[in-house]
């Protein structure tokens, strides 16, 4: 016999109450862990996409909102707003190594929306360090053909020689890109002039990715671009910070809601334990009569509470991790993150597990303090009245 045996027996006495209290803390923790895991997965993925951009500066039309800036990373369809002459001005700025235009559009293929990106073939290949998995790359900057990302090829079972339709225009698939783990995997690429012709946006592009010759002079180059052209410029870091700030704010808000759920569950523990103290007054009296100290009674209730936290934390982390894995991709499937669906699944890391378990146990111990104090302070004679 030891304290754990006593605590464990007490815990299992009212199985229904035990299960429901545990369910409360488990569900709260599951929501907390799932949202945290999904948020972390999303952040990781966005960072990866930002790296995949391969640019130091992103030139956008003036007055773009955060949503449109984020879309640069996610590959969403964008308004065609920068005239080509502006591109030429930017290319002429000292310190600009390369300025590559993107025309981000969408088409419906076999009733599914598919991103179509108009690019300068050779510049893009150099910037993105693309490798061809099968078939070949564009031979000329005006070739009427399409190169598809690896995930798109897999999804639609496309091979070189097949036909891909862009806005009703049948184009031969000439190559499939090697999987890169970025949004490029779920996009299709055609030469920019062809894209402009098909979408009827002659002389306009969505945004321009700029590489600078000297990172130290990035700020100066950015200012110069804004001086010579009627555009806005954000650095890749600013872009990332802006996206992460939005995702972070949403994530924190969701986690706060989940934390309120855990807090409510903690009150459930308080309630369960206070009821237990009330029900066990007689037994507390007996234990005092046979030599239990106040410390032992206090510890017994604290351990009971801590066990709720530990078991609830373990169950909640497992359920939360599994939920994030199963439902995470759907939960993050919104306008901001549509293209991240192909991203690796959110995975539960050790830090999250430890944080969740620590949070759950600490909160449960806090919840147990008052009931344990009540049990320990119960006067033996008061308790003996129920004997």
């Amino acid at each position: 016999m030891n304290l754990w045996t006593l605590v464990w027996r007490n815990l299992l006495r009212r199985r229904g109450r035990f299960v429901f209290t545990l369910a409360g803390i488990s569900m709260g923790m599951a929501a907390f862990v799932a949202l945290m895991t999904i948020g972390q997965g999303l952040t990781k993925e966005i960072k990866k996409q930002a790296q995949g951009l391969g640019a130091n500066l992103v030139v956008t039309p003036k007055g773009w909102c955060a949503y449109e800036q984020i879309s640069v990373l996610t590959g969403e369809q964008l308004p065609e707003a920068i005239p080509m002459p502006e591109l030429e001005k930017i290319r002429g700025v000292a310190g600009v190594k390369s300025a590559i235009p993107y025309l981000n559009e969408k088409t419906a293929f076999r009733n599914q929306p598919v991103p179509v990106i108009g690019v300068w073939p050779e510049e893009m290949r150099t910037l993105q360090k693309w490798a061809i998995e099968s078939g070949r790359y564009f031979n000329s900057p005006v070739e009427r053909a399409v190169v598809v990302g690896s995930a798109i090829a897999k999804q639609f079972k496309l091979q070189p020689g097949d036909t891909f339709t862009v806005r009703g225009e049948p184009l031969p698939v000439i190559g499939v890109l090697r999987e890169a783990g970025t949004k490029n995997d779920i996009a299709t690429f055609i030469p920019l002039p062809l894209a402009q012709q098909i979408y009827g946006v002659q002389d306009k592009v969505s945004f321009i990715a700029v590489q600078v010759t000297d990172l130290e002079r990035m700020e100066a180059v950015s200012l110069k671009i804004q001086e010579v052209a009627n555009v806005a410029v954000v650095s890749d870091k600013q872009l990332l910070a802006s996206v992460l700030s939005i995702v972070g704010t949403v994530g924190t808000a969701m986690q706060a809601v989940a934390a309120v759920g855990v807090l409510a569950a903690a009150f459930g523990i308080v309630n369960t334990l206070l009821t237990a103290v009330y029900e066990r007054r007689r037994e507390i009296g007996i234990l005092q009569a046979i030599g239990s100290t106040r410390r032992t009674l206090f510890l017994a209730f604290m351990f009971e509470s801590g066990l709720y936290g530990l078991l609830g934390g373990i169950l909640g982390t497992a359920i939360g991790g599994l939920s994030a894995y199963l439902f995470g991709p759907y939960l993050t499937d919104n306008a901001f993150t549509a293209s991240l669906r192909q991203a690796p699944m959110p995975t539960l890391d050790n830090g999250t597990v430890l944080l969740a378990l620590g949070f759950s146990v600490c909160l449960a111990l806090l919840a147990g303090l008052y009931p344990a104090y009540r049990a320990a302070r119960l006067s033996p004679v008061e308790a003996m009245r129920y004997v």
Binding site: M1, N2, T5, L6, R9, N10, R13, R282, E283, I286, L287, Q288, A289, I290, G291, S292, T293, R294, R295, T296, S379, P380, V381, M384, V387
Partner: protein, 229 residues
């Protein structure tokens, strides 16, 4: 004359204050010798159980001095009082008061654990066998008869080999056969040197004790030695 193991000197216990003041025990002085067997009788609500609680250190007197086994209780803190109850005093109650979710064996083990014994299982089993309940070790209290439960309760009270047993109506909930068995058991324990102090309403039970104290309105009104002892 044997040495006194329980000494009370002008002990009073008052509950409430002002017009609601109730004196449960009023200036009681008494001694119980080592190896003695004392029965306390009296009407309900006249302070018998309060007296037992004061002697067991479950409550503190409003006035007076209590010495148990050579220790003045007023000098002990809550933890030391708990240690006294764990090792030097055994409590037995009318309604047995076993912990309902623990087996007979565990009910004894818990007392041993509270008394600081490490190998609780072996000693608890020995005690159960000594009280003829070896085959009931895994039974929950609800599966035992009143007599069996009371024997488990006494085994629990004796777990840490205390010198003093404080009993509140130990036969109050037993049939006459079980009552007889229990009195034989108490007699054996007393013969083995245990000091017994019991509250009872039953004159037959009180007759087994060496001395019978009568309590009325919180005072000892008579202290008689039984002839056969």
């Amino acid at each position: 004359m044997s040495e006194a193991v329980i000494e009370l000197e002008k002990v009073s216990k008052t509950y409430g204050s002002g017009s609601a003041e109730t004196k449960a025990v009023s200036e009681v002085s008494m001694t119980v010798e080592h190896g003695g067997w004392v029965a306390i009788m009296g009407p309900s609500g006249h302070g018998k159980s309060t007296l037992l609680q004061l002697i067991g250190g479950l409550d503190r007197p409003s006035d007076g001095r209590i010495v148990v086994d050579g220790t003045e209780l007023a000098t002990l803190g809550a933890t030391e009082l708990a240690a006294l109850r764990a090792r030097r005093i055994g409590f037995v109650f009318q309604f047995f008061n076993l912990l309902p979710h623990l087996t007979a064996l565990e009910n004894i083990e818990i007392a041993l654990w509270l008394g600081g014994t490490k190998n609780t299982n072996g000693r608890a089993m020995d005690l159960l066998e000594r009280f003829g309940l070896g085959d009931k070790a895994r039974h929950l209290p609800g599966m035992l008869s009143g007599g069996q439960q009371q024997r488990v309760a006494i085994a629990r009270a004796l777990a840490n080999d205390p010198g003093i047993l404080l009993m509140d109506e130990p036969t109050g909930n037993l049939d006459s056969a079980s009552e007889g068995d229990l009195l034989t058991l108490l007699s054996d324990l007393n013969a083995a040197g245990k000091t017994l102090l019991m509250v009872t309403h039953n004159p037959v039970v009180a007759q087994c004790a060496h001395r019978v104290l009568h309590v009325k309105d919180g005072r000892i009104v008579s202290d008689a030695r039984n002839r056969e002892h």
